[in-house]
Symmetry: C2
């Protein structure tokens, strides 16, 4: 099997031509990053292929082991994390004052993709560590920032996010973990489950960011505070002090992601309370968590298509080598490589088109985040912030759902070999399945899209983006190219479907809220497909310009045009069905009485 | 976790109201089966719940072990197979003269569903044994029939189907295993891979049906013969004689289906040749295999939705118990059971509607097979045979593809718990993934549908079925019921899309064959969705009659109507997109040059 190879040229195309890299590196604070970007991408690609990829299959096979509260990660992971830290990859987006490199968020697109494609089990560690760094950076005291961030960036310590409890998964309002004030700190007690890298041997200390309730806290979401709970209490000089009262009671046996431990953590079980330090103000923990959650959701969206891209690479390699069956259009009896068979080619094109659309939309969203943070004009910042907030659930929900389709298609290309674990593709299929679940299921993303992003501002952000997409479509409609004409027409139809559906949901939200939410997931998919189609059409527009200008890479740009055309015919066409499903089908969703689902009643009896 | 419970009432509805059970039990030879059907269904349901289901998760966890050529199946499987045989389940469709019960094929729908839902790892044994019985029954000599079939029916021996070789998966023309004549038998040598239950401890003897080539055989598909290769050569009295030269060189480590061994079999490696007996005439092996393959493909279609139904049952149970998050349409802060949330309800309804459509279409196909075999009128037999041949790739391809969607949706209902192996749902997700691959991938089914079933008879069977669906739609259009009106309109639109697409493929098959085949998989899905929708509409028609007649089970029939309406709005609406994909997208499939898929070239470099 060929090692993972980062699709650098495709990444660069999306960065420069679609996400507007030049504009990002011109933002205040990023002026020096422009020069190093190519070098960073090349180095990251090498690190992913040479250090992370070789540990991927062995990590899945070996898995993690738990013994008396200690967790051992697979062979090679500890050394790889040390090298990852040493190479500066942890600190990529972290400000220089904490030892980071202060690079744009946009760079997270390709680098996250590389880590997750090469070894998602490994990559989840840095992904969550980054969340912890951001939480402390945004809301921690200056003492907390100085004490924790440099160690989290250097890789000596590693951060976690501890949200979920047995009764509180999607619904964090139900969090019960307690925090009782004592001297300068709090005593934390309770149980957290599903904590990724909640215990491990990659770093000498683990810094848990924990959601818990103060004794007098109001019920629900407004009574949750955030605490730093280190595994070892740091001394003033940064050395490790006392072992804190947080222990790992076990790890889960999962369908995939076996290389990273998913832990149950007990707080305050042995010594009556784990020492915790309040982050920011009391009762604002969920609000802080939501700030970070945007970043984590974006990252999981990228993780989804990263795993899918690895699956696609494997399928492509197999399709070029495997010889089976004769040409359907020939009288020859000679068998040919399966990439030459139309059905296999269709699967490869479908994956390629979907991957490019997901990558493009993610980068455009990341660039908007940089603009929202740094653009000198407040109006632009505001507009970009609203765009990012609308797109985060789409990037998370649509990319991960589509990534699962892609991984499944890739496995299908292998036929029977795909079902054998040795081949490797089954791992991607198992690994990617968690991405539509954690950091908020697709249902939760869709609730966020409809409730917080569409309805709350009366559709104004959605309308603005739809208007922007429509104007763009008008600019490409007059272009004299057969592919672009088809793309423009398909995009126009799809945008109209999205506009009509958005309007319909908005109207129904006033009357029948359940109906407005009933098909929020198909609505989210519609957004993804249309917004992805918009980016593919933008790619086609650039490609046409380059081809017309006799660019030396004309073949590369012709491929972009062809892929965009394929997307228009095969993916954008789904918009009409999704529109029908939402508008015509929403009323059906709740119409079957619950008792009629019941197998215990008559269904199990004959008449 | 609740044990598996066969949806008997739903099965009975599909048998009686949709598949026309009364007509089947009136066929010659089936006259006595009518009285016993309810009893058989009840008993099968009990066997599935009490004997097979308890071994499902333990079987997956324990898996099979290989040691020195011997394979041990999971604990309890051997005893379960003995009980299965003793209860007469193996012989259900086998004629009485061989110790079977001679029941209609239609009965295989519900019984196969029960075995596969309760324990697919176990059920694969009888499924393939049945194929071996049929092959010998149809093409074996009378001596072979007498020697082998009664033992295969009693469960003392068990059959396998040995087709695949490393270089011959989908393409059996590439089979290389050799058969050299010697005395009254042949010496077989070669290697077969992916042989389900190729070696095991469930029966004292294993009867392999092997495809191999005679020394003078023509190349390709017309030079393949079929042989019986018993693990132990039977003596004249039926006792076991010499150990034959066929040995299991290893078993695969698969993503799922861990309870059944997938074997590599070496023939003639130790003693220079395994003794084999020719079945039927030389060089007609593939033809014989195709007769059986229809049955096996039908069975795998049923297997697909059976596993999906088990997944749905688990999701339903969880959705009724799990309390999480408040009502989106209420100001109350109380969390509620997730079945009350619209998005979860949508997932449950989607699964329910798809399962009922798959079950109905499968039963209707099985009933047509009985009519094709036994109806006194030759014209009816011929018409039904053509219908069955058209529907087999649809039942196999569409049911297994849809089953994977359903299993994934079921897992999604569990959220994070779905990813934990203990919960059980992950097993269904892993197990079902093979069903779109073995017995011919979905791509192979779609090739069969377009090449052998649509194009070869110039579309006449397809046209006949489409005409039948159209006439049916006209009969329900005038009915005064809001749901039925919507269903009829959606069905009409979908049938038109199918008719147009079929016509388009037929026309293109004359000009550009690759284009005709390029979107054969979306075309197959279109067939499944429309034919399933036809059955759902028939269910709605029956339900409306029952409701109007004040049937005591009016609630049950109202649920059928509501579910059919849901299917129309949420599933049938996909027809339009599939039509566009085929007609507008087929030309795109081959248009990207292969070099542009290449990552090694420029794609890996920056510019």
């Amino acid at each position: 099997m060929a090692p993972y190879q980062a699709p650098l040229r495709d990444m660069q195309f999306a960065l420069r031509e679609l996400a507007g890299l030049d504009q990002i590196v011109a933002l205040p604070g990023f002026e020096e990053s422009g020069d190093v970007i190519n070098a960073i991408l090349e180095e990251a690609a090498t690190f992913a292929s040479e250090v992370l990829d070789p540990l991927n299959q062995s990590g899945d096979k070996e898995g993690c082991t738990w013994r008396d509260g200690e967790v051992t990660t697979p062979k090679g992971f500890k050394e790889a994390y040390a090298r990852f830290a040493q190479a500066g990859w942890i600190g990529l987006p972290v400000p220089a004052e904490y030892g980071g490199q202060g690079l744009p968020q946009l760079l997270l697109g390709p680098t996250l993709e590389m880590w997750n494609a090469a070894n998602v089990g490994f990559a989840n560690g840095p992904l969550l560590n980054q969340g912890a760094i951001e939480a402390i950076e945004l809301e921690g005291s200056s003492e907390q920032k100085e004490r924790y961030i440099p160690k989290l960036v250097s890789g000596e310590w590693m951060g976690t996010m501890c949200l979920t409890e047995p009764q509180a998964g999607s619904d964090l309002a139900a969090v019960r973990t307690k925090a009782v004030p004592q001297d300068d700190h709090y005593l934390i007690s309770g149980q957290k489950i599903f904590i990724t890298f909640g215990e491990h041997d990659l770093a000498e200390n683990i810094v848990h960011l924990v959601l818990a309730r103060l004794p007098d806290a109001p019920e629900g979401t407004k009574g949750i505070s955030m605490f730093i709970v280190p595994k070892f209490i740091p001394n003033a000089d940064g050395s490790l002090g006392e072992r804190n009262d947080v222990y790992c009671a076990g790890i889960e046996h999962k369908m995939g992601l076996n290389a990273n431990p998913t832990c149950t953590l007990n707080y305050g079980e042995r010594k009556g309370g784990a020492i915790g330090y309040l982050v920011g103000e009391p009762n604002r923990g969920l609000e802080y968590m939501f700030i970070m959650m945007n970043a984590a959701r974006f990252s999981v969206g990228v993780q989804g298509y990263a795993i899918a891209d690895r699956a696609y690479q494997r399928a492509l390699e197999y399709a070029k080598e495997r010889v089976q069956s004769r040409d359907v259009a020939s009288r020859s009896h000679d068998a040919m490589r399966i990439i030459e068979h139309p059905d296999v080619r269709r699967m490869l094109m479908t994956m390629k088109a979907q991957l490019e659309a997901m990558r493009a939309l993610s980068y455009v969203t990341a660039a908007a985040l940089d603009l929202a943070n740094r653009h000198p004009n407040e109006g632009v910042r505001k507009e970009k912030k609203a765009f990012v907030e609308l797109m985060i659930p789409v990037v998370k929900g649509w990319c991960t759902e589509t990534a699962q389709e892609v991984a499944s298609t890739a496995l299908q290309v292998f036929g029977g070999m795909g079902y054998i674990e040795e081949t490797g593709i089954a791992q991607q299929y198992r690994d990617v399945r968690i991405t539509t679940i954690y950091e908020g299921t697709t249902g939760i993303q869709a609730l966020d899209l409809v409730g917080r992003k569409l309805i709350r501002d009366m559709g104004s952000t959605a309308t603005a983006v739809i208007t922007q997409m429509k104007s763009f479509t008008e600019t490409i409609e007059p272009l004299e190219n057969a592919d672009v004409k088809v793309i423009a027409a398909a995009l126009k139809t799809a945008i109209d479907a999205l506009a009509e559906t958005s309007q319909w949901i908005g109207t129904n939200a006033i009357g029948d809220v359940r109906k407005a939410f009933a098909c929020s997931v198909p609505y989210l998919r519609l957004w993804g497909i249309v917004a992805g189609g918009w980016q593919m059409a933008r790619a086609a527009q650039v490609a046409l310009q380059k081809i017309d200008a006799n660019d030396p890479e004309a073949d590369f740009y012709r491929a972009k045009l062809t892929t965009a055309r394929f997307y228009a015919d095969h993916i954008l066409t789904q918009a009409a069905s999704l529109r029908s499903q939402v508008i015509e089908g929403a009323a059906d969703v709740m119409s079957l009485p619950e008792s009629q689902f019941d197998l215990d009643r008559k269904a199990a009896a004959l008449v």
